[in-house]
């Protein structure tokens, strides 16, 4: 009789099945509690035992949550927003997380209670990482989307920064890379430690290759040991564990040659010595265990005397039965006699009907088929009993041994988890080294100043996907003479690419990765803001322009002197004069003359804004070069000082195959616009060239007063 009952509740964050959760990302349960304005977020990945606590606040917690792959969110009663999914309040566990501030300790208790309830066992965190005061380069959710860090604009995974950088060899490394991209550092010392490590790996490129080969053989150690701890593993996991730990030992040996970079030497030093566990597992578990312990082929012969004895007895009896076939054949003279086994009758002798007359007396009839009869004999029945008895003892005994082996392996859990995390870092750093060599990235110079300087900078993603060679560009920004760059130039010339590649290079550098430039000086950025594109959201009642303005307002409210701001058009969705006024006023506010003075890249189609260069110190103009040969537009993709002479909008429209007559008429109107005037209300004097003068324009035109 099988005992039935609920033994586990599976929810989005408590799935542990490897097929169901993506190995390349964490699968967090988020628990939220608030005390006054303070919000504590606990992120708990049951599958890797990674637990993080974030001290957040009412207005920031949604952004903080968005930075992590959260599969499920539970919240205390004080939350009632649609993201919150309420659960029963946990019984107070006094003293359990008392060393955390009240909100955090409640959030930890909430997560622990939820996981323990679903798992039907007490779940304890092995290690809790506090995210509170780590200095990070912050990016809001829309900036991540705009820069296509982890997903592209269509929500897919290709053509993103992650897609370019991810050459990691292990699942742990893949998850860590994702985390590093989403959370670049803002602390020179930590960044330099990573860059140093990457440089050493680049300098020892052959050795790096060997390391990467070794890494390839390491399974998802974090999730494997966790499955064992939560008793949701299969025997195969123990074999993977042994093989992977063997690779970890190999990694450890090779680490001796990479002691010059402190980060690497610390990482290699934190890889534990697993020889004892490896030997034990090799001795205990067979190389090709059955899929489950019930399969009975898990514990290796020679590990346990009793097990060997029982298996021997069963095997012997089986062999004896099978050898009987030849004996019975010769004794009865029935050449087609067979000894077979099935689940219903056990072992039996089958004799075709044609030979029934030769069946001996001592055969006991069991079943009659159309063409044959089936029999047993006393010796067969005795041997079968022996087999059944052995099997009855074998299974529980093997299960007991198996659980002993697992318990022993779990004594190593803390060492395995900490080694797995070191492996992840080695993996990501060596991945950086590999891509730096392969794609010609260079080590950036990191500084605490506010200077940003790139020579021959490329866009890491676009250079990979376009077929023609990528045209590199320089960039110089600071918070003094070159603080706000106004970029003009026709569409399709490459303004967006230029601005985004600059932001991406800063992110890469502050992750500790080399950058796609021949030279780079990075004065550290505390935040990166972008205002790029936009579409409306009628269901939420927001027009395109409203979305644009909200994003701009967010930047003006949050940017500091250490931020990097990328604005790709602002003020488009309204009338021309309103748009210019807003764009101009925003640019002034961002400039050194205003309260912020952050490094800013500001692309615009309002050529009026290029006048700011003369008005405000630190504002300067750049444009993207175009050549026009025989009426054909050539995009040179090169950034140069000064403002664009023309905007070529109509030429681009021609490229987009607007009918020839429409293009010609547009040019005619343009020349009228340029030749005549705007009236007082911003109304144009657009008429046919041959037409009488504008109907009412000049009459109330203050310019002729």
């Amino acid at each position: 009789i099988v005992k039935r009952g609920v033994t586990r509740v599976i929810t989005p964050s408590t799935v542990l099945n490897d097929q169901a959760i993506d190995p390349s990302r964490h699968n967090y349960l988020a628990a939220l509690c608030a005390e006054g304005d303070e919000v504590a977020i606990v992120l708990w990945d049951l599958s890797t035992a990674s637990v993080k606590v974030i001290a957040s606040s009412c207005d920031r917690y949604r952004d903080d949550l968005a930075r992590y792959p959260v599969a499920e969110c539970i919240a205390a009663e004080e939350f009632f927003s649609p993201i919150a999914e309420l659960t029963e309040s946990p019984a107070e566990i006094p003293g359990h997380f008392d060393h955390f501030p009240p909100a955090q300790s409640r959030a930890l208790a909430l997560a622990r209670h939820y996981l323990s309830t679903t798992q039907f066992r007490t779940i304890e965190p092995t290690e809790i990482e506090r995210i509170t005061d780590q200095p990070l380069l912050l990016m809001d959710h829309s900036t991540c989307r705009n820069l296509e860090l982890l997903t592209n604009m269509n929500g897919g995974n290709d053509h993103t920064l992650l897609w370019v950088l991810d050459r990691t060899q292990t699942a742990m490394g893949g998850r860590l890379l994702r985390d590093w991209i989403r959370h670049p550092l803002f602390d020179r010392h930590s960044i330099e430690r990573r860059l140093e490590a990457v440089e050493l790996l680049v300098g020892n490129y052959a050795l790096t290759g060997t390391l990467r080969d070794i890494l390839k053989g390491i399974c998802d150690l974090e999730r494997t040991i966790n499955r064992i701890a939560l008793e949701q593993h299969r025997p195969r996991d123990l074999v993977n564990l042994r093989q992977s730990l063997h690779q970890v030992m190999q990694l450890r040996e090779h680490g001796e040659f990479l002691q010059e970079a402190p980060l690497l030497s610390e990482l290699f030093a934190s890889l534990a010595d697993f020889q004892e566990l490896i030997d034990y597992l090799a001795h205990a578990i067979s190389d090709e265990p059955s899929a489950t312990i019930k399969g009975g082929q898990v514990i290796r012969n020679g590990f346990d005397e009793t097990l060997d004895r029982l298996r021997g007895a069963r095997g012997n009896a089986r062999d004896q039965i099978l050898h009987m076939e030849a004996d019975e054949k010769s004794q009865t003279g029935i050449p087609s006699l067979k000894i077979r086994y099935n689940k219903v009758f056990g072992y039996y002798i089958e004799v075709p009907k044609t030979h029934q007359h030769r069946v001996p007396q001592h055969y006991i009839r069991k079943q009659t088929l159309v063409n044959a009869e089936r029999f047993v004999t006393e010796p067969i029945k005795e041997l079968e009993s022996l087999i059944l008895e052995a099997e009855e003892q074998l299974q529980p005994h093997e299960e007991m041994l198996y659980s002993q082996v697992c318990s022993y392996a779990l004594q190593w859990m803390e060492l395995i988890v900490s080694s797995a995390r070191a492996v992840a870092q080695v993996d990501v750093l060596s991945c950086f080294a590999q891509i730096s060599v392969g794609s010609h990235y260079n080590r950036p110079h990191i500084d605490d100043d506010t200077r940003l300087e790139f020579s021959e900078l490329r866009h890491p993603v676009i250079e990979c996907i376009q077929s023609e060679p990528f045209i590199a560009n320089d960039l110089q920004l600071d918070t003094k003479q070159q603080q706000l760059m106004i970029i003009t130039g026709p569409n399709m010339a490459g303004k967006s690419t230029y601005m985004r590649q600059s932001a991406l290079a800063v992110i890469m550098a502050q992750m500790g990765c080399f950058v796609p430039a021949t030279k780079a000086h990075i004065g550290l950025c505390d935040r990166i803001f972008t205002r790029v594109g936009a579409s409306d959201n009628l269901a939420e009642g927001k027009s395109t322009f409203m979305v644009e303005m909200s994003e701009t307002a967010f930047i003006l409210q949050h940017a500091t002197r250490h931020s990097l701001i990328v604005i790709d058009e602002v003020g488009r969705g309204t009338s021309t004069f309103d748009g210019i006024s807003i764009a101009w006023s925003v640019a002034e506010h961002l400039s050194g003359q205003g309260p912020i003075g952050a490094r800013t890249l500001f692309a615009t189609h309002f050529h009026e804004l290029t006048d700011l260069e003369q008005e405000v110190e630190g504002v300067f103009n750049c444009h993207i070069l175009i050549s026009e040969k025989q009426g054909q537009l050539h995009f040179l993709r090169k950034v140069a000082p000064g403002c664009a002479p023309k905007s070529y909008g109509i030429e681009v429209a021609r490229l987009a195959q607007l009918p020839q007559s429409v293009i010609e008429r547009a040019y005619e109107i343009l020349s009228n616009l340029e030749a005549r005037e705007y009236s007082a209300e911003g109304r144009s004097a657009v008429v046919h060239s041959q037409d009488p003068p504008y109907l009412f324009g000049p009459l109330d035109d203050p310019a002729v007063e």
Copy 2:
């Protein structure tokens, strides 16, 4: 011994499992073949046996494909684009589809070959629908996206037209509604037939409610009968089939009261009489069959004598064994004696160790447990043999009967499929009736002219999701006096909503649905075009402006005098003068003065374009009313003739919480812009009010010449 072998290949279009494919949409295999410029598309839904042939062309086939839910696409060698997945060329089947043009017959053969190969059986189409010459209202893929017909801007399913309209009760109805939304008609007669049917159903609303209750009980008939045909069904499918056919019969009876609308009377007439099949299935299949035929509880007692006899024999023997328990207890005097069954030993008698001394001689020991012994007796063994023998015959016999039943049901397949399609139409029409009553929609007047007139038109989706009451608006468009409406007004005022609701109402009317307006006159539209929003696609090397221009070019190339065009801003992503020139020239091209003269809604922030009203016949201005009370902006959402007095862009920026200082400065700049002038190159004279005059502007200003 189980015979193993590949019996089926499962691919995206050949999955039949109900859990794996969405019941609400078709799951098409598309097969493409080309002959010269002609491209034939075959759409074949294996799960519903729906087969369509489309005569398309090289430049149109991608758009045609996008109109249907295609799960998988195969193409002949002449295609080599990434959407094509090559398969082995089918052996030529001469004469098979010879009555189709060459490309179509090849595409049909290709699809048939592919499906037959994956299913390991010959698959033949039951009925082939030719899409060639059906007059439809065409919409390109981006128009469907912009109008949020089937998916919203974020790719989700809520807040779409489908989401509002889908009150269908059956899976077939759900699929058909999707198809009708994507393919409104362009043929007055067919539209009127549907509208008439809806009107009759609205007029008999109580009866409609009854019909909908009956429809609710109809399972996915198309997929059910197909699973049976492809031998991938479960016994439960036959029960569902019977119950659903019973509902179809009910529907048929009620149809008698709805004869006035020709479409409905045809539909009800095409529901077949299934009484014979229903009775047969009721007799043959038990009401709660086991999950598979192996479970042995599928064929009902009384259907087949042999089956009843075998079941009786087995049941008898089982009863006898179980009754033995009492006998053996009293004979042996062992009160705790039990008769039990397990898979290894069959039936046995279990006696606790404490009673071993009372075990009679004739008990044969089978197994020893810790606390008990297990025995058999000769009578038990004999009865067990009887059971086993009966079971050995039972299963194949029941399987044979089952396959007879299925064969009989399949003789009805054609009738079931055609009735299912009629059910789908009744379902969608009654869904239209229900939503028309519930949401106060009215029957539109359909005409072949080019007039479009709505009184108090609402947006069907937004009126459902916003909490405040929706403000309805009128619209009048034709191809003469009121041909091109230039709409101005601030952001957030409701321009996009107004334009989209007009397009949606046309689509709804041409689907045969009532519309959310008190009165509607629809001069039929052959195509609807939209140019709304846009975001760039750097990976494809397209800027926002380029995307905008390409979409505009597409409209200018394809629109006819019968089209409806919705343009929400054009010319934004370039310099002001370029943008105005392009917008102006595009408007002229679309106007009656140009070659197209289609009904056009043209929203713009270039107030300059309102001058077109005086220049070009048929162009007229509208704007959306705003009230300003005590410096507060109130959106009145009411459309009125004339152009907007101000654009209020800066006010909207204030609503978006741009800092107060930025807003004030923007107003200052705006007043300068309005007070002064644009220079010859479109450069503004933006300076501080107190500042000296603009440096070089007035000098070369032709206005002062």
